[in-house]
């Protein structure tokens, strides 16, 4: 009974719970749709255009390098389990494997794939601090 059956059982219970609660609230809740309610939320403004526009290419880059490194982590698990049997040769092999990936890692770091903020400008100079504020004094009865 225990083992994978338990995982399947909990998955079935989870899906069942989701469906039951959606169906229950479908029957219990009121339904009174208006065009405004059915529009996408945009802080009260009428929605402008479609949401599915082009997004920053950074997200796709992250997804791609994630795939690479995730496979690395997936490869790590068998080694991690057998580490004591593989001993030093195994550790050296995994270090070589890592160092190949580190080359790529340094490359993407230098290329700025991991930088999301505004671009760094080495020539940027901080604007000079403004001096003490000059307070104009007005005298009653004069014109300025």
């Amino acid at each position: 009974m225990d083992g994978w059956g338990g995982i399947l059982l909990l998955a079935v219970i989870g899906v069942g719970f989701g469906i039951v609660s959606v169906v229950l609230s479908y029957f219990l809740g009121p339904r009174n749709p208006t065009p405004e309610k059915l529009a996408a939320y945009e802080c009260g403004m009428p929605p402008v255009g479609d949401a599915r526009e082009r997004q920053s290419v950074k997200f796709y880059l992250i997804a791609m390098i994630f795939l690479l490194f995730d496979i690395e982590v997936a490869f790590l698990y068998p080694w991690a389990l057998a580490m004591r049997q593989l001993s030093w040769p195994g550790l050296i092999q995994i270090t070589v494997f890592f160092s190949i990936l580190v080359v790529g890692y340094i490359y993407i770091w230098r290329k700025g794939v991991l930088d999301w903020g505004p671009e760094y400008d080495p020539d940027y100079k901080r604007p000079p601090k403004p001096g003490p504020a000059v307070v104009k004094r007005y005298r009653y009865g004069t014109r300025n």
């Binding site: 995982i7 059982l9 909990l10 989701g18």
Partner: protein
């Protein structure tokens, strides 16, 4: 037929079915308790009282909230993808429940002699529990991404995209820190990892992995908070910029399911942390038969830390989040892993 009846009425089967029911209810109740605790802790940290009206000390507030959500109107934007819009919360809540399946929460027990043989206090005793948790954690991304995409709202889509980038980035560090513990323990079964942490050094320092592997614990904690989308990494629903992120367009029970999934995920990550780093159900003064009491105490402490962090630290900037994950946590976890391996081999641990 008679065999099936005999099997179904056997004490082991009844005990197991009860256990599944108890875990399922406990996870739901823990979500409710966490909502209440979050509001109370936040209130006390800000010198307010928090919920006080429903029940004594406002204890029934989460139940009132759930009942209210059942009776709310279910809205779906016209431009939304109907099927995926309904599917997303179900995926979220299912993966949340699923992730708890391989997590043990107590020593094997016969329930005071009620059972013929001891039963492990966990739903699924698989020997690759760590791998299952890692896999289910990555499946949780689908719920959020699909919710963001299906809503066809700008805030939702941005929240979904952001959170997918965040979760996959931190998953690497998460997996690395798990691999470090797997390597150190030489086992992937959470039950065995917990049993390896019995005993004391010098008579009083418990042999928890948090003391041997503080770096792995730090990485695990950061990545766990980011995986569950909690402050200071709560970008998917950064209220000030994205309204409610991926669940902006959700209402009624569908919204409640996302909410519940978030809290159940917190419980699961904390439970895994207790098992991996804090000795699970082993502790002084309480016999191992009642070890689940220690487990609950440690779990409650870690969950309180979640709330504590949320109301103490401000949210990171998005570029800080990404560079922290990729430039600090990932190299740190990798170096820690290799150094640990070298240390284990050198000292013959």
């Amino acid at each position: 037929m008679a065999e099936i009846i005999a099997w179904v009425t056997s004490p082991m089967f009844i005990a197991y079915a009860t256990l599944v029911g108890v875990v399922f209810m406990a996870l739901q109740i823990s979500a409710a308790v966490m909502v209440y605790a979050e509001r109370k802790v936040a209130a006390f940290m800000q010198q307010r009282l928090g919920p006080t009206r429903v029940g004594p000390q406002g204890l029934l507030q989460p139940i009132a909230d759930i009942v209210k959500l059942f009776f709310k109107e279910e809205l779906r934007p016209k431009a939304a993808d109907a099927f995926l819009f309904s599917l997303a919360p179900i995926i979220s809540v299912t993966t949340a429940f699923l992730a708890f399946a391989p997590v043990p929460f107590g020593a094997a027990t016969t329930f005071f002699g009620l059972l013929p043989e001891p039963m492990a206090l966990m739903i699924a005793d698989v020997n690759v529990a760590v791998l299952v948790i890692f896999a289910v954690a990555s499946m949780g991304v689908y719920g959020i991404v699909l919710a963001g995409w299906a809503s066809n709202s700008k805030y939702s889509l941005l929240g979904g995209l952001r959170s997918s980038a965040q979760m996959i980035s931190y998953e690497l560090a998460y997996g690395m820190s798990l691999a470090t513990i797997v390597m150190f323990a030489g086992s992937m079964s959470l039950r065995e990892i917990v049993d390896l942490q019995q005993g004391y050094w010098l008579g009083f320092i418990p042999k928890w992995y948090i003391f041997i592997q503080p770096v792995a614990f730090f990485v695990f904690a950061c990545a766990g908070i980011a995986e569950t989308n909690r402050a200071p990494f709560d970008f998917p629903e950064a209220e000030q910029e994205l309204v409610a992120g991926y669940h902006t367009e959700y209402s009624s029970m569908r919204f409640a399911m996302f909410f519940m999934a978030e809290y159940i995920n917190m419980v699961t990550v904390s439970a895994v942390a207790v098992n991996l780093f804090m000795g699970g159900w082993h502790g002084p003064f309480i016999p191992v038969e009642y070890g689940w009491i220690w487990f609950l105490i440690k779990l409650a402490f870690l969950l309180f830390c979640y709330l504590w962090l949320r109301w103490t630290l401000p949210r990171f900037r998005y570029d800080q989040l990404m560079s922290f994950g990729w430039k600090v946590l990932l190299p740190l976890a990798t170096v820690n892993l290799l150094l640990t391996a070298a240390g284990v081999l050198y000292f013959g641990l």
